[in-house]
Amino acid sequence: MAVFQHDVLVIGAGLAGMRAALAAQGEGANVGMISKVHPVRSHSNAAQGGINAALDAGDSWEEHAFDTIKGSDYLADQDSVEVLCQEAGSELIALENMGVIFNRDEAGRLGTRMFGGASKARTYFVGDITGQAILHVMYEQLMKAEGAGQTPMRIYEEWLVTSLISDGDRCLGATLLDILTGEIHAVLAKGTIIATGGFGRVYEPSTNALICTGDGMSQAWRIGAPLMDMEMVQHHPTTLKGSGVLITEGARGEGAYLLNSEGDRFMEKYAPNAMELASRDVVSRAEQTEINEGRGIDGCVLLDMRHLPEKLIQERLWQIRELGIDLAGVDVVKEPIPIQPGCHYAMGGIKTDVHGATVVPGLYAAGEVACVSVHGGNRLGANSLLDTVIFGRRSGIAATTTGRDMDVPPLPDGVIENEKQRLQELFDRPQNSDRIAQIRWDLGVSMDKNVAVFRDADGLQEQQEEIKKLKERYASVPVEDKGKVFNTDLIFALELGYLLDCAEAIVIGAIGRTESRGAQFRLDYPERNDEEWLKHILLTYTPEGIRTDYTPVTITQWAPKERTY
């Protein structure tokens, strides 16, 4: 049992976390960075398609901002979007200069590809491994800083944050589990940045890795930070049946078609101009409609790349070609691949300002875990990597500057003991016939049934009841593995608790928003209702129950319009 101290504590070592840690270190902070997996195993490595920036002469940040706002179905806060799009170009160049490999055009300049919802080709990429390319370079920069003898940074690799520490007002740090030894410790910091990524495993299937369990959202929620826009869960149009593994939007960006069972390019009906490259919510709904109306094949539609040159596929989409062969037994060069909409991304999250600051003093958030909000009701492809690096950097700087004249706070009495007791209780429960994995599975499948592409009051009500039951089951299921070293059973148990919190918030948001906007499509309220709903839903966890508040969307220069593609 130890107590560590840092100026800035970063929880998460994906793109947002590492960018925040580097920025804080650059500002002279003594940084501690915690990750439950080795940094390069973070889920950012799965990003395939690319990262957006308006960099070329024929493009402008305003156009990028407009596409983003239209994509968001006018729920994004426009002042935040302006920051995102204005800083995109210089951040992208900074990444390139650090060493990120990007595909090039004939002149040796950075090359682009088209992406959904974009009026210009402004997605920069390397093949279909863009996330990995950026994540690994970020890790290289950490090693470089270490080599150059900068202010030391401690990386707590394979440590799991179990809870945040609060004195009732400020966030003081976190309690954490050293996965290797099973010991509980505490870290105290002047500023704590949460960069723990999304909650994709709330749904089954999901494109997200098994570690994407919404830990940070739940933990911040529990110490009073409001969650915003939680109902806005993106379902990606092209995921593999069964596993839910992603086929990048880059495939459609490079020209792939979507076909129904009759061989028609059905997007003609839904988005005659943008076709396959309409916004994700639009394409996912179109697919689901085709499937529901009997023009699907075994719950799927087809993604067709047969007309694309093999060389192009080999040079720009090599990973998904391999995934198709390995996981679906389909070589996309020769056959269309069956795909369906699947849970992919959390637009909602911990409410922050453009510096990553949350409502709770001392607590910051960046990346998928945060809601600034730049994605509103629907995120554009390739805007998320951008979000992680821009707001990661900003929160690293803000946490350092704000904490500069402060002392590291003291540890309140009993924090570690209480946390130990909480975990011990999980071990001590009597054996029963239920299983942690079974509860997680039931949660995922029911969320997929009731809170996916199409929603209505009955399904949502049913899901609320279901979550209540799942929470009861969760309260009595024991951790079976009683060992200390690398106890993954304990980790799953904790993660399931976070997932249940996230699911609860998603459903409350979805019930509350009685309109259709972006990813939230209510069959019982099929229209967008700007009059009443140009506002965010904020959910706050209190001892008395969950409180709902509203805050208006910030509009700067783009008045809401009808959204067609």
Binding site: V40, H43, I93, G99, R104, V126, D481, K484
Partner: protein, 328 residues
């Protein structure tokens, strides 16, 4: 389909013993080894420890040995392994690294080697106004190396690392190539010199091809190591061990039609380099013990040319002539 797993287990809290445990489960035909292990962990035996996350061969968490060969469990289908009903699948942790618990290994061996190759871009000269201007081909060339997800499969199964802990090993050398081949890096020569001269560098690879075979991402580390050798020779920094190693290699083949491993070593490090030679002796004895250095070749007197050596020599002469002609 019915699946029979045989998993090598180790629990540090229960002593130093390893044991094998069988699990019989039923899963759909298209399942992967990872699906099977996850099923065991979730529904049969919660104490089984393994790392996994993405399920799609990108995070690099789930490398382990399946039927004696390192692979990503999430990329290995049950039907790739099981050829007849009832056949057991043997699952073990990776080699060349300490085991923490069950299938979880300590990968510091690998990361320490990555740190050894100065794994970040070192541009020299003025910063560009925007991006560096470089050709797509050059970027795609290093992107191949960057495809490495640091899963450790090649590190696990590298036979050189098994006998020589100083070997930088395939994955970290592939990482080295990623910078030595990147036109934006201004320190190619220093890098190549380090890789050439350092103990365990590029000249210590024995070209056994194992890393190429086990790599789940087609990084082809051995090929990259060979390209690093070419680059080192071209940059004129392979003068020491490296160049001599190449010369000794070809002179041996010309003389005998095969490698004379025993003379390769002294000729490579320099016949008068006693300290290095002594250092290598330990490795040589170990290689002999595991049959990598046939003892009879250790006696120069028995080193007889292979039958048909004259054809080999003719090839050599032909190659020399052509080289000379192209130079002229």
């Amino acid at each position: 389909m019915k699946i029979a797993l045989n998993v090598k287990r180790f629990d540090p809290e229960a002593g130093n013993e390893t044991r094998n445990q069988q699990y019989a489960i039923d899963l759909p035909e298209h399942s992967t080894v990872l699906d099977a292990l996850i099923h065991v962990r979730e529904y049969v035996d919660a104490t089984l420890a393994l790392r996994c996350s993405c399920r799609s061969a990108i995070c690099g968490s789930c490398a382990m040995r399946v039927d004696k060969q390192a692979c990503l469990a999430c990329k290995t289908k049950i039907t790739d392994i099981v050829k007849e009903e009832g056949q057991e699948i043997l699952v073990e942790p990776m080699g060349n690294m300490p085991v923490i618990k069950d299938l979880v290994t300590d990968m510091e061996v690998h990361w320490s080697k990555v740190r050894q190759v100065t794994p970040w871009l070192r541009p020299t000269g003025p910063e560009p106004e925007r991006e560096y201007l470089v050709s797509n081909d050059a970027m795609m060339d290093v992107a191949g190396a960057m495809n490495c997800i640091h899963c450790g499969a090649c590190v696990s199964d590298c036979p050189v690392l098994e006998i020589d802990k100083s070997f930088i090993a395939p994955a970290a050398l592939a990482k080295a190539y990623r910078f030595a081949g990147d036109p934006r890096d201004g320190t190619h020569k220093e890098r190549l010199q380090m890789l050439s001269e350092t103990q365990g560098g590029i000249w210590d690879c024995t070209r056994c091809n194992m890393c190429v075979e086990v790599c789940p991402k087609d990084v082809r580390p051995m090929d990259l190591i060979m390209q690093l050798r070419d680059k080192a020779v071209a940059a004129g920094v392979a003068g020491g061990t490296g160049k001599r190693h190449g010369d000794a290699f070809s002179s041996s083949v010309r003389r005998l039609g095969r490698l004379d491993e025993m003379r390769l070593l002294p000729e490579s490090v320099g016949i008068f380099n006693a300290p290095r030679l002594l250092g290598e002796l330990r490795g040589a004895f170990r290689m002999m013990r595991v049959g990598k250095l046939p003892w009879k070749h250790a006696l120069p007197l028995v080193s007889k040319p292979i039958p048909g050596i004259k054809h080999v020599r003719r090839l050599f002469d032909q190659a020399r002539r052509e080289e000379k002609e192209t130079k002229e």
